[in-house]
């Protein structure tokens, strides 16, 4: 593993994505990407006593299925890396309690999945691990009660609000084997452009995504056109437009038809989700379910996948603080 420029890691022994699994909720299943997900939940409580346990069970099932695909037992994976939006990432750590694999809990808000890929790939490329299961999840009902209002409260959302996806994605990285490869990863800086509207996370995160993606291109001496697709996490359609505007103003040419946002793609307009999907599970499930499968099919060769997080909490919002954003990126390539 070596360093490129200020923020990028080049994985000289690029890890392989040996398996990837996605689970999505019913509303997500009805969206345009529904057929790509490996499983759609019929019961969003998953037979559990609480929404938090339901989210945890979703993580456990997704992780188990990814490990099954690769022929590994839960204890056979060298590390589980991941997180979620719950306070103290209980959904993931409670799932890890059942999986019994060594666990690295991460919090990068909705960037967690890509953060896990950056770190997991680094640990494997450095020779420290042979396998790493990277995962992230979110559940509409756990996020609503923690960040917004009780579910039954009659409120309206502004047009810039996003909808927390009920979804989970797991990618199993291995040192050897066949499959897609992660060839480089870019760390993110926390960027705050003084946006304090907690409903407008796309606006808070777009500058962080701009920062990480432009750092990646500069560090690796590439242009956006060197990628077949640039994927962002959950900026939503307003945030995606803002990111395009930031690139345009900075003089970085990013073709609009090659920039795909997971949150803006997850739902149909009629599903009344306003600016699009959000949550850790959004980028995780969409990249494991849609993006990776399309690379495997040969539709794309090199994809720059980024995730972005709004690092706010209800406390910081109530105290009037602005919203810091963060973004990570990895380059995923076909291995043949």
């Amino acid at each position: 593993m070596s360093r490129l420029g200020a923020q990028t890691l080049r994985y000289d022994r690029p890890p392989v994505i040996a398996a990837h699994r996605s689970i999505a909720g019913g509303k997500e299943g009805e969206g345009p990407l529904g057929k790509w997900f490996d499983a759609i939940l019929e019961d969003d409580l998953l037979g559990q006593k609480s929404w938090e346990l339901a989210e945890s069970e979703m993580v456990r099932r997704c992780a188990r299925d990814a490990l099954d695909d690769a022929g590994l037992s839960p204890g056979g994976v060298d590390a589980l890396l991941g997180g979620d939006l719950n306070n103290h990432i209980i959904a993931t750590s409670f799932a890890a309690r059942k999986l019994r694999a060594p666990f690295l809990g991460l919090y990068g808000a909705c960037s967690t999945f890509v953060e896990a890929l950056v770190l997991g790939a680094a640990l494997i490329s450095a020779g420290g691990l042979d396998s790493a299961l990277c995962c992230a999840s979110s559940h509409f009902c756990t996020a609503e009660r923690q960040f917004r209002f009780p579910l039954e409260l009659g409120t309206q959302r502004p047009p810039q609000a996003s909808w927390t996806a009920t979804a989970c994605g797991c990618a199993l990285l291995r040192a050897e084997g066949r499959g897609l490869r992660i060839t480089s990863g870019t760390l993110g800086r926390v960027i705050d452009m003084n946006i304090s509207d907690a409903n407008h996370m796309g606006a808070a995160m777009a500058p962080a995504v701009f920062d990480t993606l432009s750092a990646h291109l500069a560090d690796t001496r590439q242009e956006a056109a060197d990628y077949d697709l640039i994927v962002t996490g959950d900026l939503g359609w307003i945030g995606r437009n803002l990111l395009l505007e930031l690139f345009r103003k900075a003089g970085i040419d990013v073709p609009e038809d090659r920039l795909v946002d997971c949150g803006a793609s997850l739902y149909r307009q009629e599903q009344d989700v306003h600016a699009g999907g959000s949550g850790c599970g959004c980028v995780a499930a969409v990249s494991c379910g849609w993006i990776m499968k399309r690379i495997e099919r040969g539709e794309f060769r090199r994809v720059l996948l980024s995730g972005s997080g709004a690092m706010l909490s209800p406390t910081s919002s109530q105290q009037g603080q602005s919203i810091p954003g963060i973004s990570y990126a990895v380059c995923i390539e076909r291995g043949d």
Binding site: P150, L153, G154, F210, D211, A215, A250
Partner: protein, 152 residues
């Protein structure tokens, strides 16, 4: 090291240009007719109560009680949040909305138990309304007491 192309002040202007506004007129109309309907319903209950000869003090309490019952029941049936999504302030401001703001956390936080869940969270949304509403009525009452001699 990449630099942001806009200053925070410039970026804020870019964001407000890129963000669509709420559909205000549609919102006002919906709030007006739904809120108005709830108020008409309240008036109808009040007239019905007059026929029951409940008296000047009990009648308004009876009316409020029936509306709170309706708001709470519709919350429990999962209907009031849909009305609120449609009508906004039209269903939030009447006392049925107040009932919704108490019943919704009561349902939501059952799993945290009767004390730390329902008991502690029951008034998370309605609490500020109660606190400042009661405080304001005390102040108004005191003012009324001071100036009542000069009133016609």
């Amino acid at each position: 090291m990449s630099r942001q192309p806009y200053t925070p002040a410039q970026y804020r202007r870019v964001v407000s240009r890129a963000t669509p506004g709420s559909r205000m007129l549609r919102g006002y109309l919906r709030a007006f007719w739904v809120g108005g309907t709830i108020c008409c319903l309240g008036q109808a209950i009040s007239l019905w109560a007059e026929g029951l000869n409940l008296g000047e003090i009990t009648n308004p309490m009876f009316t409020t009680g029936v509306l709170i019952f309706l708001g709470t029941t519709l919350t429990g049936l999962g209907v009031y949040d849909r009305i609120g999504k449609y009508a906004g302030a039209g269903s939030a401001i009447p006392v049925t909305g107040f009932a919704n703001s108490v019943a919704a956390p009561a349902i939501e936080f059952q799993r945290e138990g009767a004390v730390a869940g329902v008991g502690a969270r029951l008034f998370t949304l309605a609490g500020p309304v109660l606190a400042y509403g009661i405080a304001t009525s005390v102040v108004i009452g005191a003012l009324y007491w001071l100036i009542r001699g000069w009133l016609p």
